[in-house]
Amino acid sequence: MLTFSLLLACFTNCSKSFKAIPAGTQSLSSQILDSSSTSAPQISSKTAGVTDANCQNNNSFDACIVWKNPVASAGRVFPQILQRSTDLSAIQTFGVALKNRTSPDKLISSTITVSASAGTTPVFQNGQLRTTYQSDSEKSWLAQLMAYFWISYQESEMTRRTGGFYPTGKAIPVDAFATDPTKGSVVGNAYYSSTLNKVVLGYAVDENQGIAHEMALSAEVYLHEMGHADLEWALDGSGIDIYRDPNASYVVQASDGTNHLRSLNDIQTGDVLLSTFCKTVDGCMWAINEGQADFHYLMIFHDSTPLAETIVNKVAGGLETGTVPRDVNQLKTWSTQDIFTKSASKYNSGSIVINGEIHGMGSAYASILWTIYTHPQMNRTHFEKIFMEQLKMLTPNSRFQDARESLVGVAEAMADSNLNGIHYGPLIRSIFTAKGVAP
């Protein structure tokens, strides 16, 4: 009886003390932001298909596409930004299976329906489709094949690694090539519409602001957009709009042509929204949304972290916000304050300078997630599970410190049942601190 009582006392006290001061976290300070600290990677997305120089003649594949995007695949830039009808035969060698189609002659699964409003419907033969980009200019079939393959791969990988993907079964239309504003095109951009539950991919622009090529040739772009869809469906039934963010402010062009900074409840008639900013270095939900969407593509292309290499025709990627590169590996040693300051935009001939553009601050959030994910003490699959769970806990009011608390809360709650008993809370908290997020 005495033994039993002592045993109980020790269990209670021991567990509490170990929980309060987890071992292994005291020595993190010198390691946390080091860019060389990368734990072993997940399976490479290069194993999602088979690179075969004879792909077009190999009928064991459903289609021959490009891995990630043409510049990333080739490892070099084009003489000028990629133009439609360019010969990509040297890199269109990634042989893939098009899985989960509801019909062998369509790019439709229960999760996505891929088409191209500025292209034509692909014609399959025995469930397979061979097309070369050189002959593709009026059809945009490669763009559609790539969108279908990479989103389906993202869905299957997230389901396999984390147990689910919130948009599964949600029949999301994906317009792989939209050029007409009346059909939702946005020049040089892509988006997810929560109202229409739709992904729209525009086009990369050439130096004359004309159409260079389909944005759907860049897989990381729509894996990002599906990240927005994932968050939206994680909150399905909540009745809240994460984009109505009180911690953000908006730069608009007023009807007289001047630019103004507005708050959420202060947008005037005639205002045209130009850009969205986090009000403070604490971040905002818009930035968290952009950052988590980036992290969605990073979980798939973890061995190739830049964004939009082909769209900007740079091997190192691009789409800088202010002077903030959109590449988490380059940002690993940047503090959140650095990024807030450097993700600035100028308006009215430079008389207005606004810090904290949401894609720049999104990179700050993605960089925090990436630092946690690649930390030597983190099992990447474990963090993917934590990340996916945490999406349900984001709200329109979330700032970086709120995101931290929900990640910690989930990590601790999952530790014993799903994470092999490992308590990652202190590690997550330390990395947010190291990146300069307020307590």
Binding site: S29, S37, I43, R161, G239, R244, T381, K392, T395, S406
Partner: protein, 295 residues
């Protein structure tokens, strides 16, 4: 002296028993320690208890042993890193003693973490594991109402109707809407997430609002609100995408709220957009106008 020795001898079996018992306790304590692993343990030391991701973990060669070798060489490159203090629990915001008392009754072993929103109102309670029923708190709706009250929202304003968010293998999340006089309060909720394996609620969120005295005069119709939304974008408005068919209570600031219509329109032109407009049901003025596109 002898007597003392005799006494020692007579106590030896008891000492041995206590020593053995302590040894067992220490061993079990160590077992407990190892069951509470921390991230610096190698994966090879860990038994995979995940049912769902066996294949994923098999394919995940997270090599912590190799990584720990890298750690040795990392310190010199960390000069840009801000100093990191040992992880410490964040400071608890001032909260009512009643709330802490209640939470500590619900889970006496918890290390409660309370977070506040920009209005300094408690918005998150975590760090514990709440199991129901507990006394008069029978359901999650009861708990939502009680915690809402303790964090500053009248319990009567929290709906008893449970809205479920998507389930995962690990958790189940439900949400309760804030309502007033039968009207839904826009962008408001009490949300609770529980672990499926033991039903313990581990994360509670409070995005309920201080309404003050809401202006409930319904002086404009939904049709008028739609017309106002389209008129605002007279150059490019291309129709209504979605509306809420019932007005909601819109809170523009603490204690400042009124009835409003919510309309989403499509705007075309050089810059495609989808705008969500909140239009006062009292004055017909646009209270909020935000892009609903996520780039």
């Amino acid at each position: 002296m002898n007597r003392k020795n005799d006494r020692r001898k007579s106590e030896e079996p008891r000492h041995l028993f206590l020593f053995a018992a302590l040894a067992v306790i220490l061993s079990l304590g160590l077992i407990r320690l190892y069951s509470q692993k921390t991230p610096n343990q190698t994966e090879s030391q860990l038994e995979d208890d995940s049912e769902d991701f066996t294949q994923a973990d098999d394919n995940d060669p997270t090599d912590i042993e190799e990584a720990s070798e890298e750690q040795v060489n990392m310190t010199s490159q960390a000069s840009l890193a801000p100093p990191v203090s040992a992880p410490a629990p964040i400071a608890l915001p001032a909260a009512s003693a009643e709330l802490y008392d209640f939470l500590n009754q619900l889970d006496p072993k918890a290390q409660w973490v309370l977070s506040k929103n920009q209005f300094q109102k408690i918005s998150v309670i975590s760090g514990g594991a709440i199991k129901l029923p507990f006394g008069e708190i029978k359901t999650k709706a009861d708990l939502a109402a009680r915690l809402a009250e303790l964090t500053g929202t009248p319990a009567a304003q929290i709906s008893k109707t449970e809205n479920a968010l998507p389930e995962t293998n690990f958790s189940r999340t439900v949400q309760f809407q804030q309502v007033y006089e039968g009207y839904v309060v826009d962008q408001s909720f009490v949300r609770m997430t529980e672990r499926k394996f033991d039903g313990a609620i581990f994360y509670s969120q409070f995005e309920s609002h201080d309404l003050g005295e809401p202006d409930l005069r319904l002086k404009t119709t939904l049709a008028e609100a739609k017309a106002a939304a389209l008129a605002r974008y007279s150059q490019g408005a291309d129709g209504i995408l979605k509306t809420l068919t019932e007005p909601v209570i819109f809170v523009s600031a603490p204690q400042k709220s009124e009835l409003a219509w919510v309309v989403i329109i499509k705007v075309i032109g050089p810059r495609y957009d989808e705008r969500k407009l909140t239009i006062s049901a009292v004055s017909g003025q646009v209270l909020q106008d935000v892009s609903a596109l996520q780039n």
